[in-house]
């Protein structure tokens, strides 16, 4: 048993670190580190930089433009990126749809879509959840009816992140209403510019608008955009959701947030002393750091197991539960640290280029909205209740 990274891995970490230092634009880093609003172009500028370096798709096979990194190298890359405040690559193309096309798509789909995912010519979003189908995803009702060389799609998707600026959406649609619910679903790629698609933003309680409803009204989709076989979409979706687990612990991002929390708690005053010296607050920060240490090693143990070729199993639900809990607690403590100054609502202060005098310290505006917004992390990607079901059923046989 050996915790230390190999010399090669350490050299790789250095390489990643200096690449980020030399190439990450300062304005993007500022937005990421200070919780300011990130636009499509901010994400894509960094995406293109990574693409030029050949680093944009670590999870793809090398022949399609992947990096050929080991699971440990991928972890190092994610860790360094998060800590430095480099934006994550928008996951819907690279992490989610790309691997499905690589595994199940036909040659035309591979040639047409994969290079455009890598270059960010196509930005993707995910059409899975529907108003009546959340945890019970397989009950989805958006339907696609074959009509000659096309499918006609009708229905509604919801909670669709990035739909407001995406070029394409990968959609789960019902193609056989008579079959058992998992068996009548297909995986369809749809150009967001197709007539009949309407995107309506959903404002969340923190005032943000990063999710949307997407309506399909007689949308005509070429049949060649069907991935794999008709009615086999549920298999592809399960494959995709299995891939989504990588990086789900968010250890790197949480380490960065913890560092910022400590800075806030050192700046804030309580009875004339730094808040970090208040034993109650100090204990909470310390206890959370212990949890994060444990999660980091749990994450590494799972990554090490994957190095032997094993895919991520139901154990990744542990990472989701703990990872989301820690992320939420960090936002909770940052908000608590501000005391009354968590109250002013300064949405405009989160926009880039805002240069009025902030109300309270400059890190105040983001704290409460961040806390409210992060209630989502125990809901999305399979709620933590569903994750506990997975552990009970798949790991424990209960």
């Amino acid at each position: 048993m050996e915790l230390a990274y190999t010399a090669e891995e350490q050299a790789f970490r250095e390489e990643v670190r200096s690449f980020i230092r030399d190439n990450l634009p300062a304005d993007i880093q500022d937005k990421m580190l200070n919780g300011k609003k990130m636009g499509r172009e901010d994400f894509l500028r960094w995406h293109r930089t990574l693409h030029k370096q050949g680093w944009v798709a670590p999870n793809w096979p090398e022949e399609h433009g992947g990096t050929g990194w080991t699971p440990v190298q991928r972890h190092i890359f994610e860790d360094e990126s998060a800590e430095a405040g480099a934006p994550p690559v928008i996951p819907f193309g690279v992490t989610m749809c790309g691997p499905v096309i690589i595994r199940f798509g036909n040659d035309w789909q591979k040639q047409f879509f994969l290079p455009k995912i890598l270059s960010a010519e196509h930005v993707w979003c995910q059409g899975f959840s529907e108003p009546g189908s959340g945890s019970d995803l397989a009950s989805l009702r958006t339907k696609a009816v074959r009509d000659g060389d096309h499918y006609i799609v009708n229905g509604q998707k919801t909670w669709t992140t990035s739909a407001q600026f995406a070029d394409w959406i990968f959609n789960l649609v019902r193609t056989d209403p008579g079959a058992k619910k998992q068996e009548g679903i297909s995986f369809l790629l749809i150009d967001m510019k197709t007539p009949g698609i309407t995107v309506r933003p959903i404002v969340t309680m923190d005032g943000g608008a990063e999710i949307n409803e997407v309506f399909f009204d007689n949308v005509k989709v070429p049949a060649k955009n069907l991935v794999g076989e008709e009615n086999k979409g549920w298999t592809y979706a399960k494959f995709l959701l299995g891939n989504e687990r990588t990086g789900i612990a968010r250890v790197g991002a949480s380490k960065r947030e913890l560092k910022q929390l400590k800075q806030i708690a050192s700046s804030e005053r309580d009875g004339g002393r730094p808040l970090i010296e208040n034993p109650r607050f100090r204990d909470k920060v310390a206890a959370l750091e212990v949890e994060l240490m444990a999660l980091e090693i749990t994450n590494l143990r799972m990554i090490a197991a994957m190095r032997g070729g094993k895919g991520p199993g139901p154990e990744s639900s542990i990472l989701k539960i703990k990872g989301s809990d820690i992320q939420q607690r960090l936002t909770e403590l940052a908000m608590e640290a501000l005391g009354p100054y968590a109250m002013p609502f300064q949405r405009e202060a989160l926009e880039a280029g805002w240069n009025e005098e902030p109300i309270g310290p400059d890190y105040a505006a983001v704290a409460a909205p961040h806390y409210f917004n992060y209630r989502k992390v125990s809901i999305y990607g399979g709620s933590n209740e569903i994750q506990r079901n997975v552990i009970s059923k798949m790991m424990l046989g209960l």
């Binding site: 959340g134 005391g339 002013p344 609502f345 709620s383 209740e385 506990r388």
Partner: protein
């Protein structure tokens, strides 16, 4: 032992419940928030007509001689509807300070106006560095002939942007964080040297940063003693905490009702999600937390004016600890059990959750009050 309302209290409860039910929902609340003051002047007049604004003041002061129990009744319903009018700022805190510390002349000049809805007050007390410590006052009051000159910065002054008169705490003697040496001063919001920067708060209310740049007030602007206001401040804030506890209880009741309804109606896997035991137990825990909070809100109301100040402090802080912890659990779990819909601005849960969250960070969070409680209960000897 009797936890029942008197006949008058029952009528008050009915009146306020009906008023809030008729005049408040999420859409109406948004329209009130969009008004220049961030609340409805029309509703404020209605509250005045119904006698709510004079409720806690003595009859001789133009009020109805109500106790903290009456305030609890009002605030619980205000919590149910997520009311945005400045009842806490102007009546409980502002009016409370005048009624606790003011001279007969000051009370006569101010309280009937407040009760009639013609005059709005705000308590300008907290400062950037003070966090929750009530004695941490750096704003200065220096003698200026027969009057005073005030200088300093007051932060997150609840409804400070619509107030006609500010009640400003300032230090006339003593070092920072000393309890002695703090005075309360009536300041016209339009007086020379007063700067008010108003803004919305994350929970849909309004607050302001107030700057005092050599503001001159007369000797008659002092509420009570110019260097001995700390006990009055603490008492008024304790009353506000009891009111906040009641508001939080009303919020929890509404969140629990909405969550229960969702568990019964939302179907996944062909059944209502309320048929899943994991969610049933969570909902049961939320009900337990609401009941515990309600108990502490009642206890706080019955203790808000105790002659024994140490016992008052002990009970009020205990209530705030309970409210803070239960509120966090109920709020977070309500959003969690709703799933995606709970995250949206369109649905009610998020609004209640945000207010409940900020109640914890008003006048001391659960940690702060656990310390204050322990100081009274656990001091050696």
């Amino acid at each position: 032992m009797d936890f029942d309302f008197t006949e008058e209290q029952r009528l008050l409860d009915e009146t306020v419940r009906r008023l809030v039910k008729d005049e408040y929902d999420i859409a109406k609340r948004k329209s009130y928030m969009a008004a220049p003051d961030g609340f409805s002047r029309k509703l404020w007049d209605r509250y005045a007509e119904l006698g709510l604004l004079g409720l806690p003041f003595a009859e001789s002061e133009g009020g109805f001689g109500g106790s903290a129990v009456e305030i609890m009744i009002v605030m619980e319903s205000f919590g149910r509807g997520l009311v945005v009018e400045p009842y806490l700022a102007s009546i409980v805190l502002g009016g409370g300070l005048v009624s606790l510390a003011g001279s007969a002349a000051q009370k006569q000049a101010i309280l009937p106006q407040v009760a009639a809805g013609k005059l709005l007050l705000a308590f300008a007390h907290g400062e950037r560095q003070s966090r929750y410590a009530l004695a941490d006052v750096e704003t200065t009051a220096t003698k200026d002939g027969s009057g005073w000159m005030l200088s300093g910065h007051k932060g997150v002054v609840l409804n400070g942007d619509s107030a006609d008169q500010l009640i400003v705490s300032a230090r006339s003697a003593g070092g920072s964080r000393e309890r002695n040496g703090i005075g309360l001063f009536l300041v016209d919001a339009k007086a020379k040297g007063v700067g008010v920067r108003g803004y919305p708060t994350v929970d849909g209310l309004r607050a302001a940063e107030v700057t005092l740049d050599g503001v001159r007030v007369g000797g008659d602007a002092v509420l009570g003693v110019a260097d001995g206001a700390y006990p009055v401040i603490e008492h008024a804030v304790d009353r506000a905490l009891a009111a906040l506890a009641a508001e939080a209880v009303g919020i929890m009741e509404t969140l629990n009702a909405a969550t229960l309804d969702y568990l019964k109606t939302r179907k996944q896997f062909g059944v209502p999600i309320g048929s899943f035991q994991a969610l049933q137990h969570r909902m049961a825990d939320m009900v337990v937390e609401h009941e515990q909070s309600k108990s502490m809100a009642v206890l706080a109301a019955l203790s808000a004016d105790l002659a024994d100040a140490a016992e008052r402090r002990r009970v009020i802080s205990a209530a705030k600890v309970q409210i803070g912890r239960s509120g966090r659990f109920v709020g977070q779990q309500s959003i969690q059990l709703h799933g995606g819909i709970g995250m949206t601005d369109e649905y009610l849960a998020g609004h209640y959750f945000k207010r409940l969250t900020m109640i914890d960070q008003s006048f001391g969070d659960a940690d702060h009050h656990l310390d204050r409680f322990a100081e009274v209960t656990l001091s050696a000897g």
